[in-house]
Each structure stands twice: as structure tokens, then as C-alpha cells.
């Protein structure tokens, strides 16, 4: 089992009030799965994703990633996990505006201490795989939304992580770009990448093999209907 979250609680303190956002969330994901997490706005999807992504720590509960307890790791180790085991894709792409597509994709390799020559080779390869070999030197402002998101995917995958975490990746895309992106996700999944994707669009969730609903901080598994859309 690649992800194993059990009895996760997350409270936010607002003034003097304790606001519970995640309530006894347990989520087990096998290697190679493609999971969609669906739920209305404010239900706690991003909060859960941040915990899965080792960006945040739950108030209580346990979390094992590839058999390793991540909650007792320090910040440095968490950064190391994010760098090598996890890839992130965000709704608003989060590309560095002044850097070319290639430089954006190179960034995680810089942090991993990869030499310049190899960085460029690997980043070009990753961009080629998402179909952007001809736009490697374009700045984000010169790219369409769908292209920007593909740059983001190339960046997420360049360190060859086992898990891809996507928080509403199609939220800012038109339907044609969304479809293309979902085809790319399916391809990555076929190649063995475990994908966890947040969405509130049912037609996007339909691409996943497994759908998990979250409502008001509580999680429920949807059974058997994922292939029908």
C-alpha cells in the first residue's frame, strides 16, 4: 500500500473557536491507483490534499507513505519526500512567470542537485512527453492554459515520483484542454503513476478508476459506478 491515512483529524483555530475541517478521515491507496476526490467547495478537499502532500500535518491520526511514517519526520525530511516521492499540480498552474518552460521544469532537478547538462536533458524529455517539445523556450505568458498545465505536469513528473497529486487541475481549463489533460493523466497512470486528483466536476472524476466523496470533512467511498460517469 503506497498511501495509508488512518483516523485523520484536522482542526483550525479561528480566534477562540476550534473549527474541525477533517473528521476521522481514513484513506488507503494502492500503488498504481487513480483516485478522484469529489466534494463541494469548503468540504476539506485541499486540506486533505495538503496533508497527503506532506505540506501540512494533521491534528491527529497516522499517515504512512510507502510504508514510512511521515508524521514524525522533520521539515527537511518532508521537503525531501515532496521532492522525490510526490508531484504536485495546481489549479492555477503556479509556474514562475519569468522563467521559460524548460527552466520551470528544471527547478525540482536543481533542488535535487542534478548537474546542469543532465537537468536540461531530463527536462526536455519530460516536456517532450507532454507534447511541448516545440515550446520549451516559451515563457508561461506565451502559452495557453492547457499548455501551462502540461508544463506543470512535466515539472511534477521530472523527478519521476511514484505519486501525482492534482488539486483541481482542470479548474481553469476549457473542456477541450481538460480532455487532453485527462488523456495525459490516463497515460501516466497506465505507466504506473499513482494519481490522486481533486475535482468537483463529475465528468472529470469519471476518468478516475475510483472516486471518493468528501462532505463536510467526512469521507465516503463510492462503489462500482466509477466507469459509468
Amino acid at each position: 500500500m503506497i498511501l495509508k491515512l488512518d483516523h485523520i483529524y484536522k482542526d483550525y483555530i479561528q480566534g477562540k473557536m476550534v473549527v474541525p475541517v477533517l473528521k476521522d478521515v481514513s484513506l488507503h491507496v494502492e500503488e498504481g491507483e487513480y483516485v478522484a476526490i469529489m466534494g463541494p467547495s469548503g468540504s476539506g478537499k485541499s486540506t486533505l490534499m495538503n496533508i497527503v502532500g506532506c505540506l501540512d500535518r494533521p491534528t491527529s491520526g497516522t499517515y504512512e507513505l510507502a510504508g514510512q511514517n511521515v508524521l514524525n519526520q522533520d521539515d527537511k525530511a518532508m521537503a525531501h519526500i515532496r521532492l522525490h516521492n510526490l508531484g504536485f499540480v495546481f489549479q492555477n498552474f503556479q509556474l514562475l512567470p519569468r522563467q521559460s518552460a524548460l527552466e520551470n521544469v528544471c527547478l525540482p532537478l536543481v533542488y535535487a542537485g542534478v548537474k546542469k547538462k543532465e537537468r536540461v536533458a531530463r527536462a526536455s524529455e519530460a516536456l517532450t512527453r507532454v507534447g511541448l517539445e516545440e515550446r520549451m523556450y516559451f515563457k508561461p505568458t506565451q502559452l495557453s492554459g492547457g499548455q501551462k498545465q502540461r508544463v506543470a505536469i512535466a515539472r511534477a513528473m521530472v523527478n519521476r515520483p511514484k505519486i501525482l497529486l492534482a488539486d483541481e487541475p482542470t479548474g481553469a481549463l476549457d473542456s477541450k484542454s481538460s480532455t487532453q489533460l485527462m488523456e495525459l493523466f490516463e497515460q501516466l497512470n497506465r505507466e504506473g503513476v499513482t494519481i490522486i486528483m481533486i475535482t468537483h466536476a463529475p465528468e472529470i472524476a469519471a476518468y478516475a478508476k475510483r472516486v471518493v466523496d468528501i462532505f463536510d470533512g467526512e469521507i465516503s467511498e463510492r462503489k462500482g459506478d466509477s466507469d459509468e460517469g
Binding site: 495538503n50 505540506l55 501540512d56 527537511k76 521537503a79 504536485f88 492555477n92 514562475l96 527547478l107 525540482p108
Partner: protein, 418 residues
């Protein structure tokens, strides 16, 4: 690291105007310091050259009494027990490592003056010199000839005068071949000399300037051999040595004075040889000018402080502007240290660049000061290097707080912002 520096330059370039304004405080501060230091260095060199005599390295070792030069005036009685300097003593002085050459002379201060026809000039210094005097003391023949061996061997009554005396006695006439009466004895002028380095004591605040003040009405030189014709045998003599290097001057002077003082047998008069320490005087003057200029450096330092605060301010703005960039970088695996290094590098590159521009501006300002006021300037390379290193340090110091703030940003909060 290189990646950080490249990114820093990219950032600075994409905000050209803002970066320049941020650097301005540093540029002005560094430029001011470089210009001030250049002026200090220039002035110090000038003081040293002027006072010590531009590489001439001569040291006067004169008789003194109670801290002042001991001068024999015409008509004075000659004190006993202060013998003329013997060849043996001269050889001893020449054996000193620091000494290159040595010359001795007897002298008189003439109030009553010398005569040429009806013209007379008083308050002159007359010296009985040996053959090495003019070369040791760096005189240049203006016209006529110097003393030769025959002048000494034949006790000729020949006279060399300096340009000041020439002007006083002869106005526009040619002095060569003219006869001048000194204490009733006629001497023939054979040459006119001039001090080689145009020594103009601009700084008259030092009490020791009597040395030059006494030159004012001019100098007369006669061969030492002819001295007893006018005055007497075995009179006390002053000594001039030439040191091997400027830095040897103090040592050479002191050692020579010691050797000479050992020959004095009269302890009643309290007359002693004393080496004038021009190097020490130069040092004093330099210290004085350094002290005033250091205050200017403090003022420039305040400008640097203000510049540093400006850098901190802009860096804080920059962190706020780039919150989501920082959040993203942390999300994809950048460590705290990585972010810290990135921002520190950016601040350091910004201020180092400011420092470089400041050095260039300061060197330019120094040239302008030189052109406008004629003050000597010397831009020193170590000062420039220190200035740039110092501005890098300013970047690191004042960039630290903003960088720590960036490094400690919570990535979730940062990504949440739009």
C-alpha cells in the same frame, strides 16, 4: 549557487529601475568612501613626497641646543670640544647599512651681509662644503660650474650661490665671474645652484619649519678648504646623509647622530647632534589629515547604513510579492535553506553590484576632485576590493531578515494566496 546568482541577476534586470534606486544608497555611500580614501591616500603621498623630498632621502643631522638648531652667527665665539667631523667618523657613518653617502659642512649665519659693489644682502647662510655636498643634497647647477678638486687643493676663493641669493645680490645681472665681499675677503662667483626638487613647504604649521625659513635670503657655498681664510680651523660641523631608502631615513639619522655625539667632549654647553625626522613629521601631518577625513568616512558610513535599510525594505517587498513563488518552490521540494540562500544571494548580488558601481562612481568623483581643486588623489585597489566585499556583507546583513521571513513562509498559506 550559480543558479541562484543567475536568478538574482534575472530578478534585478527585470526590475531595472527599482533595483537601481535600491542600490543608490549603497552606490552613494561606497562612492563617497572611495573618493575620500582616494583623497586621503593622495594627500598622504603628497605630504610624504613634499616633506621628505620626493625620493631624495637626505637627512640633516645638525647641532642643536635645547631642542633648537644651534646656529653660529657671525661674530660668535666658537664653542670648544665640538670638533670638525674627521674622515674616521665619516667612514664610520658610511659603514651604516642605511647610509648611502655623507657630507659635512661648517656654516655661519650672516647678519651683517655680503657686498657686491654697492648692493648688500643680509641674513644669509654661508657654508663651507666638501666635494660631495651638492650631490648628496640634490642641487642642480643652474649656470657656471661646481667646485673641483683644484679649488680645494689651491684654497681658491671661489663662491657658489643659490638662485635666491643670486636674485638678491645681482638682480638681473649675470653673477658669474663677479666678485663678492664676504667679511672683507673677495670671492669670485663660479656657479649658481638650485634645489633639485621644488620644495615648497605649503604646510607651515609645524614648528620645525625653521629649517626652511632660514633659507629665505639665500645660501652661499665656499670650498671647505677656504673656510679658514674667512673663519677658523676645526669649527663644529653639521652633517647631511643620504639614506638608502625613504623608510631608512629615521634609523639612518638616529644612528648617525649617535656616532657624532660620541665625538663631542664638551658636555657643559648641552650642544648635541640631532637628526631631523622628516618622516616622523610627515607621519604627524598625515595623522592630522587622516583624522579629519575619517569623520567624512563616518558620514559616508551613515549613507551605507541608510542604503542597507533601503535594501532590506525592498527585499521585504520582494518577499511579499513573491509569496506564491516561494510557496510553490517549497511545495515542489525546496528546503528552507534553499529559499534562504536564494534571497540572501539576491540581496548580496544587488548590493555587490551597487558596490561595484559605487567604486566606479567614487573613482570618477576622485578624478573630478583632482581636476577641480588640484588635490592629489590615489584610488587604492585594496580600498576598492574592501568596498565591494563590504557592500556584499551589507547585502547579507540587511537581506537576512527578509530572507528568513521568506524561508519560514508556510507553503499552504503561500499557495492559497492568489
Amino acid at each position: 549557487m550559480f543558479e541562484n546568482i543567475r536568478l538574482a541577476f534575472q530578478g534585478i534586470w527585470s526590475h531595472k529601475m527599482r533595483s537601481f534606486l535600491t542600490m543608490l544608497g549603497i552606490i552613494i555611500g561606497i562612492a563617497a568612501i572611495i573618493a575620500i580614501v582616494a583623497t586621503i591616500t593622495g594627500t598622504n603621498e603628497e605630504i610624504k613626497n613634499k616633506l621628505v623630498g620626493s625620493g631624495n632621502n637626505t637627512v640633516n643631522v645638525k647641532l642643536s641646543q635645547g631642542g633648537y638648531d644651534y646656529t653660529i652667527y657671525s661674530g660668535d665665539e666658537i664653542p670648544w670640544g665640538i670638533p670638525a667631523v674627521t674622515q674616521e667618523t665619516k667612514d664610520k657613518i658610511l659603514e651604516l647599512d642605511e647610509v648611502e653617502s655623507v657630507t659635512t659642512y661648517s656654516s655661519r649665519y650672516l647678519y651683517d651681509g655680503v657686498y657686491y659693489g654697492t648692493a648688500s644682502v643680509s641674513s644669509l647662510m654661508i657654508m663651507g662644503v666638501d666635494t660631495s655636498y651638492f650631490s648628496t643634497c640634490s642641487y642642480r647647477m643652474k649656470s657656471g660650474r661646481g667646485f673641483d678638486q683644484e679649488d680645494y687643493d689651491l684654497y681658491r676663493k671661489v663662491l657658489i650661490i643659490d638662485d635666491v641669493a643670486a636674485k638678491g645680490l645681482f638682480k638681473k645681472e649675470n653673477p658669474l665671474g663677479k666678485t663678492v665681499e664676504i667679511s672683507g675677503t673677495p670671492f669670485t662667483v663660479i656657479g649658481v645652484v638650485k634645489k633639485q626638487s621644488d620644495f615648497e613647504p605649503e604646510i607651515s604649521s609645524i614648528e620645525d619649519y625653521y629649517t626652511y625659513a632660514s633659507d629665505s635670503n639665500g645660501l652661499l657655498f665656499i670650498p671647505k678648504a677656504s673656510w679658514p681664510i674667512v673663519y677658523s680651523y676645526d669649527e663644529p660641523e653639521n652633517v647631511v646623509i643620504r639614506a638608502r631608502s625613504t623608510d631608512d631615513m629615521t634609523q639612518a639619522g638616529q644612528k648617525t647622530a649617535k656616532i657624532l655625539n660620541a665625538t663631542i667632549t664638551n658636555s657643559e654647553t648641552n650642544i648635541k647632534y640631532r637628526a631631523e625626522d622628516l618622516l616622523g613629521q610627515a607621519q604627524q601631518l598625515q595623522d592630522l589629515s587622516n583624522a579629519t577625513n575619517m569623520q567624512l568616512v563616518w558620514i559616508a558610513g551613515i549613507s551605507l547604513l541608510v542604503g542597507g535599510i533601503g535594501v532590506m525594505n525592498i527585499m521585504l517587498v520582494s518577499v511579499t510579492e513573491r509569496i506564491s513563488e516561494i510557496g510553490l518552490k517549497k511545495a515542489i521540494g525546496a528546503r528552507k535553506g534553499t529559499i534562504l540562500a536564494q534571497f540572501l544571494t539576491e540581496a548580496a548580488v544587488l548590493t555587490s553590484l551597487g558596490g561595484l558601481l559605487g567604486v566606479a562612481a567614487g573613482a570618477g568623483a576622485a578624478q573630478v576632485i583632482h581636476k577641480v581643486s588640484g588635490v592629489a588623489v590615489g584610488v587604492s585597489v585594496p580600498a576598492a576590493v574592501i568596498a565591494v566585499v563590504f557592500s556584499t556583507v551589507i547585502g547579507v546583513v540587511f537581506g537576512f531578515l527578509p530572507s528568513v521571513q521568506a524561508a519560514n513562509l508556510d507553503p499552504i498559506e503561500a499557495l492559497r494566496r492568489e
